[in-house]
Subunit: 275 residues, 3 copies
């Protein structure tokens, strides 16, 4: 009996409204019919490389060490190199060389080897430049899933030449954190680049209510453990299941709109003076 | 060759916009790579336990007798017991002990044995209380799918201690049914707790037009067999593919809005006096 | 070891908000647990047979030659014959005889043999006329996927009796193309029945800007290779990854609204006189 195929974990910004995800599945299953295919999500906001990269990295603890991870969020499709990366944890990463995979390879033990995907034995000329994945990235991922070697995909690259996202670090002083908006979701909840340990480093870990100052507005936000504890319109601070500080607001209000924030914007977090 | 793994049928209110469903698939496939995973739907309206429980129970005739059914709709996640149930039909049910599974186990022949999911050999401490499923319910379901024993998941519970949904029964008299709104869908169609046999019990089975009285409004609704037969704005009554009476309205009007109804509201159904 | 099962490729207008897709998966996996199931998409606009048929046909180059393709978009469910078609390429097609499969069988080498799906050994009486697929089409598709014979599904039909979509052909003269709207998407992009070769036949292949005349409005549209090159509100013409001419408009404007078009409407394409 042949060894089982590696699972393929697939994340993209393709959406579900057309045939793109299905066509990729069709190609993957054609080459590696025994691989479970896990759709992490295909609703990454279109072209948002950092959002996709963060979601992928934060999902890593739940992804098997023999998985082949296929990520496609590529605003410059056809211009970026396409790469396949062997990580020190055993997982493979396949996608464009635009930083999308960089947070994931850090979470997966770092890059062991990397190749550019060019081999005509594995891939084929894309039928459309705007939709290369089924002809290049999918065959490459499936090749690895059935046990094919990384170096059959194309020439080795120097890992240092890979593009990486620079995730902004919060600035922490005694009693204040200057954080940055990483992402938001459809409920208007705001994800900041702040971890629970950062609160402790600023001496704010036991503060029941925090002041969140943005350029355009200011909110007093109560600490809580879940969304449900906040009154309608009330601001709150929780740590989400991925470990990031989240600014939320009791339904149906939106923290994102209330504070006028977008990804990349700064916020200042201090002890609230409100009684 | 090892015996094939049991299929896993998965229903939740997780939505498709983030990585939650994908992470659960990743964990399930990691433990039981040979199980087909069937996503019944992940768009149960958030936290609507009865809606999820009804959909699951009504789907039972189409679900294999060797299936492991994983249901996650849990407004009190972290507070409810997590349980695994062996039914008399052979199907397993895994989920929170909040009633979500109760209509399903009735449709699957009743509870044979039930355990609380606690075993550290199978599950792990949840990485996040707000998202326990990948660390507790998913490993438990996959354990059963690969042929693991129910009693390895934790201590036996008394079936009578399980929480069950009390689905409201219609009140039927000669010429009148007092029903209750069970659910609605995005088209504004209203599902009532009324079966075709109830119409006959009230002597209304051959009535071509019914009066539907709600607290806030009243409609004359024509019997029909499909949505397409009703004029724009016209009210109609059909029996849906799950066997429930549905109040519909010709596109683009919404019966739900027109009658001012919500789940739990009462309606009175009688013979229409309109000519 | 038994031979691997054929992959099943599934496309429908069922949407993702209820249990329909899941129930079909449950039935398919119950009969053919080793078949990879590829969901091409389930968000075909409801009841839009031509839209589904085109998407399926255009996806054919990416679909394996041993695939069983299950298509369900059926405004007349319960009235149409249900058919299973063996194509000359080896792929099977299963669905209603309403034209949905006709563009696909042309793309798959034409019809070799076709049967009506009636056999009580394979299918069962539908539990609901409005949702026949899990009782008829799904068992038939899964029967073929596990290696069952086509002629076990029911009596042979004369291929010439199958319903086919008549895809409108553009009218081409020197310097002008009269095309027709095939479809549109949620961005308001308009797909026309015009291929890149048609532009050349009209002598318009090197024209940098085209005039698009509709009944209600007129636009000057610049040729481009991707969506991103057009300014906000600017009209553009690209060829999409499926090979069709698409009229687009720089975000956030909608070409569909701007030109007042719907599927079936005519447009006239000429050289732009705008400098």
């Amino acid at each position: 009996m042949p060894p089982a195929a590696r699972p393929i974990v697939f994340v993209s910004d393709f959406g579900l409204g057309n045939e793109w995800v299905g066509i990729c599945h069709s190609v993957l299953a054609g080459i590696s019919p025994r691989s479970p295919i896990v759709d992490l999500t295909h609703l990454i906001r279109p072209l948002e490389v950092q959002s996709g990269g963060l979601l992928l990295a934060d999902s890593m603890p739940y992804i098997a060490e023999d998985a082949v991870i296929l990520g496609v969020v590529d605003p410059n499709v056809g211009k970026d190199r396409e790469v396949a990366i062997g990580t020190n944890s055993g997982r493979y990463l396949v996608g464009p060389d635009n930083g999308l995979l960089s947070l994931a390879w850090k979470a997966a033990g770092g890059v062991a080897t990397v190749v550019e995907i060019t081999s005509p034995e594995v891939i084929r000329p894309p039928r459309a430049e705007s939709f290369r994945a089924p002809d290049t990235l999918c065959p490459a991922a499936a090749h690895l899933a059935v046990g094919g070697a990384l170096d059959q995909l194309g020439p080795a690259l120097e890992p240092a030449t890979l593009n990486a996202l620079a995730l902004p670090e919060p600035e922490i002083s005694d009693g204040e954190i200057r954080g940055e908006v990483l992402d938001f979701n459809r409920f208007g909840n705001i994800q900041l680049n702040v971890r629970e340990a950062d609160l402790a480093r600023a001496g704010l870990e036991d503060v029941p209510c925090l002041t969140i100052k943005a350029m355009a507005a200011l909110a007093e936000a109560r600490r809580g453990s879940t969304y449900a504890v906040f009154e309608a319109g009330e601001y709150g601070v929780i740590f989400d299941e991925r470990g990031w500080m989240e600014i939320v607001r009791g339904n149906p209000a939106s923290a994102l709109e209330g504070l006028g924030l977008s990804p990349g914007h700064l916020v200042w977090i201090t002890r609230s003076r409100v009684p």
